[in-house]
């Protein structure tokens, strides 16, 4: 059972890959960059999913994938013209297929009506070209929108309950002369146990007259579950109308108690495949094999196997079980590793780094000379540990591509819902970020994209009136910048309606009616909890949760979000995210006898303040003059509540930092110890969030040091100016 579950899991993992490939390919075709190979790849992706799904008996998935594949096949053989509408349908079908896969995997919500509708649309698209309905099987049913069979003889059977219920019990007397007699024959294991043979019986039937015999293999289980003495095959036989029912019954006389036998008249004379099965069969390999030797047909019908091209269900099952073997073939050079194992490795390497620096410190303390062999060996060890650490971190780094791809679906859906025409432009999908960061970006990004389309972009008529093209553009870019990854989501819409934002904020009591707010302060209001500019709650942008949720989830990742908006030109949301959640380059400083780490990414420069550069501003604030501009001076010791008296700037070091909105501040600390890469340790695990502290780390001496949250401290000091001591406030709050 475990093996089975494992194979199934592998199948679903592969499905995700196939789905990504499918969407990629379709998008390439949409951009008219696709060639025949792209269409082939798209076809293969759907085909593999269908094959695997068939092996696991996921009937819904098989049926849908089959219709999808049929249409794709026509596209591939140029029998169906590739139009924008068709590609749009294909993309929606890909979304539907993804939904079905997820539904099959973990029972996620499934909009069955939508799937059914897509299925119908696909089938209609396939029928759109009369010449397109290639029907390799002469016996393929001629029902209106029945998909054509592919080379595998893979025909989903459409059946109606009416056929089952409405059909009167047939008898020999009532058999109209021109209606073919159908026989459904399903042996029980007992039949074989009594040394009877289905083949012999079928041969007997054929002797009665012309017969079309179809074998139903849908009940064959996986090899692991197959009972060698079980009976899994059943046959449907269509006989010449001239054959009498009584003579058929005669053949089965000796086995009638050891099989399920159903003899009747086909309601539609031409149809050869009306099978009165208890449930819709997923895989019916049909063979009108009258002239073929029986021995051969048996093997041929058990496994619908085509020797050429693509994967049959059997092949993909084998593939699912033995992914690694593909690597030997030279195509695949990746392995799947449980994330827990990687994380454990990362933890261990983190400990190793701490241990190594503790050791180095002890050696220094022991007074061993810098050039001694011990010290040199330690240096080598340090290089090695760093290298190991970097390599291990690289394992977790993943390109942002999949998440960007997911967004193209969001864009399609929201564009449909809002009736706006939208194009998504993405750049920098190859940018690599820690896997956890990527995973946790999905929700915030989805929300931002929805907002950009729903609130950002104008209605088509408004766009035209404003002299813009009707189609709006949502742009999503990723880039590395100074050790962080910057993701921008922008739209070319109307920009933030500041008057409206302000009005709402005043109405909701977020700001005073007469408050003086700069444009960027007004823009920032949309991050305020509970703020929502949409006058009606739309289905698209969520209910009551807004950009504050986005902001919080980004902050939880150690990221920042900022917004810039230009009226009439659009809005840009900028996310700045750490590449990894595990290590950080920091400057180790001392403040009031405490050791702190300031993230290096925030630091612009450090300098020794001179007396004439420091100026008082107001009663408590001070600024420092640097190259002609005045920059606020933040006394870290006071800001964090380590001391109450002001630090003497002349005995301190000023660290220039740049915070999220690119404004600069100078942090006043007592001294700088050095630069060091530190392993981030969560304070939240055992304690909770602390204002002004991003996380903790363990230094070389084994003691814990806190990592400064520069933006929070800067923001806090501004809000704090002229108010009571922040630590008192915190104490009261607790």
């Amino acid at each position: 059972m475990d093996t089975m579950a494992a194979i199934k899991q592998t199948f679903f993992q592969e499905c995700e890959e196939q789905l990504a490939e499918l969407e990629n390919g379709l998008l390439a075709i949409e951009r008219q960059e696709g060639d025949l190979e792209t269409i082939n790849a798209v076809f293969r992706a759907v085909h593999s999913i269908k094959g695997g799904a068939g092996a696991f008996g996921l009937d819904d998935l098989v049926r849908f994938a089959h219709t999808f594949e049929t249409t794709l096949d026509l596209m591939r053989s140029n029998e169906l013209e590739i139009t924008t509408g068709l590609i749009k349908l294909m993309l929606r079908a890909a979304d539907g297929l993804a939904d079905l896969v997820r539904f099959s995997r973990d029972g996620a919500d499934l909009d069955r009506a939508r799937i059914a509708q897509l299925n119908g649309e696909l089938a209609r698209a396939a029928k759109g070209e009369p010449a397109a309905a290639a029907e390799p099987m002469p016996a393929a049913p001629a029902i209106a929108d029945e998909p054509a069979a592919d080379e595998n003889g893979f025909v989903p059977i459409r059946f109606s309950l009416d056929d089952l219920l409405g059909e009167p019990a047939p008898s020999a007397d009532e058999t109209p002369a021109d209606a073919p007699l159908t026989v459904r024959f399903k042996p029980k294991p007992e039949l074989y146990a009594k040394a009877n043979d289905a083949v012999v019986l079928l041969r007997e039937i054929r002797r009665l007259g012309e017969a079309k015999i179809a074998c139903d293999t849908s009940e064959i289980p996986l090899l692991t579950e197959l009972d060698p003495e079980g009976a899994y095959l059943s046959w449907a036989v269509e006989l010449d109308p001239a054959v009498q029912e009584a003579s058929v019954r005669e053949i089965f006389e000796f086995v009638v108690f050891d099989c399920d036998l159903d003899i009747g008249i086909a309601p539609e004379p031409v149809s050869a495949t009306i099978l009165t099965l208890p449930e819709p069969p997923s895989t019916v390999a049909e063979a009108a094999f009258a002239p073929a030797p029986v021995q051969q047909t048996e093997t041929a019908t058990v496994i619908p196997l085509t020797p050429e091209r693509d994967l049959t269900p059997t092949e993909s099952l084998i593939k699912a079980g033995q992914t690694q073997q593909a690597a030997a073939g030279g195509q695949q050079t990746t392995i799947r590793v449980d994330l827990d194992r990687v994380d454990r490795l990362i933890d261990l390497v983190g400990e190793l780094v701490i241990n190594q620096s503790m050791l180095a410190q002890r050696v220094m303390e022991a007074g061993i000379a810098r050039l001694s062999e011990v010290a040199v060996g330690l240096d080598d060890l340090e290089h090695l540990t760093r290298e190991i650490q970097d390599s291990v971190m690289a394992i977790r780094a993943q390109p942002v591509r999949p998440i960007f791809q997911r967004m193209s679906r969001v864009v399609r859906e929201v564009a449909d819902m809002t009736g706006k025409s939208v194009r998504l432009v993405t750049e920098g999908e190859g940018c690599e970020v820690d896997k956890t960061v990527i995973e946790r970006l999905a929700d915030p990004l989805t929300h931002m994209i929805r907002n950009a389309i729903d609130h950002g972009l104008e209605k088509p008529e408004d766009r035209l009136a404003a002299g813009k093209p009707e189609q709006g553009i949502v742009r999503m870019t990723a880039a590395h910048r100074s050790g962080r990854v910057i993701i921008e989501v922008s739209d070319d819409g109307a920009g933030i309606n500041r008057a409206r934002v302000r009005e709402i904020a005043v109405k909701k009591g977020l700001v005073e009616a007469n408050a003086q707010l700069s444009d960027s302060e007004i823009d920032d209001l949309i991050f305020h909890p509970g703020f929502s500019t949409a006058s009606s709650i739309s289905d698209v942008s969520g209910r009551g949760v807004g950009m504050d949720v986005v902001k919080r989830s980004i902050q939880a990742l150690g990221g920042r979000i900022s917004i810039t908006s230009r009226p009439g030109r659009g809005t840009v949301f900028t996310l700045s995210l750490p590449l990894t959640l595990a290590v950080l380059d920091g400057m180790v400083v001392t403040v009031s006898g405490q050791t702190l780490v300031v993230p290096l990414t925030a630091i612009v420069e450090t300098l020794q303040p001179k007396k004439q550069d420091v100026h008082g501003l107001g009663d408590t604030s001070r600024v420092i003059a640097i190259r002609g501009s005045f920059i606020p001076l933040i006394d870290i010791g006071r800001e964090l509540g380590y001391r109450h008296e002001e630090a003497d700037p002349l005995n301190s070091v000023a660290i220039m930092v740049e915070s999220e909105n690119r404004s600069q501040s100078a942090l006043l600390v007592d001294g700088i110890i050095g630069q060091q890469q530190v392993v981030i340790k969560s304070l939240e695990t055992n304690y909770g969030h602390v204002f002004g502290v991003a996380a903790a780390t363990i230094l070389g001496d084994g003691r814990v040091a806190v990592i400064l949250d520069v933006d929070a401290v800067v923001a806090g000091s501004r809000a704090d100016a002229g108010r009571s001591d922040i630590s008192n406030r915190k104490r009261n709050a607790a």
């Binding site: 304690y687 909770g688 003691r703 104490r731 607790a734």
Partner: protein, 158 residues
């Protein structure tokens, strides 16, 4: 998980007793992970007075609570003789700074008496009951709310 709850108390249970401000207290031994000597802590900014700071416990960051201060006594001036009892509370590890561990007790549920009415509000918040053992009175403490209530950031200043 492993914290003291009413149900655990119905069977025989073992408790670790310790001294604090001249009184004796105890916690369920099942919630205790480690007992170690006092080491200098790294103070956390803007934390309540009873949060002594954090220490490195085998690679993870462990908050240390001055239990005396938490219970409303005078804050402890820690010395090398003080000990930190490492406990597991609601899936979090918390160190408790106490004067000394005095005893390990085996009791059954019947031995626990309700907390007398005289205790202060703060003490009543933590006390599950009292035990009379060999003429001593030992208060049974629940650790559920030793950490500051709001683990959320109180610092989103605008």
């Amino acid at each position: 998980m492993m914290h003291v709850s009413e149900k655990d108390m119905t069977a025989n249970s073992e408790l670790i007793a310790f001294r604090l401000g001249g009184q004796e207290f105890c916690v369920d031994i099942m919630s205790v992970r480690d007992i170690r000597g006092w080491t200098q802590t790294t103070p956390l900014p803007h934390s309540p007075e009873y949060v002594k700071g954090v220490i490195n416990l085998r690679g993870s960051v462990l908050p240390v609570i001055d239990l005396a201060a938490r219970l409303g006594f005078r804050p402890t001036e820690p010395t090398a003789r003080h000990v930190i009892i490492v406990t597991q509370v609601n899936n979090q590890s918390v160190g408790l700074l106490v004067e000394a561990v005095s005893d390990i007790l085996t009791i059954n549920a019947g031995a626990i008496q309700p907390t007398p009415d005289v205790a202060s509000d703060l003490a009543r918040l933590f006390m599950r009951g009292v035990l009379a053992i060999e003429g001593r009175m030992i208060s049974l403490i629940s650790l559920d709310c030793v950490l500051p209530n709001s683990t959320e950031s109180a610092g989103t200043v605008h």
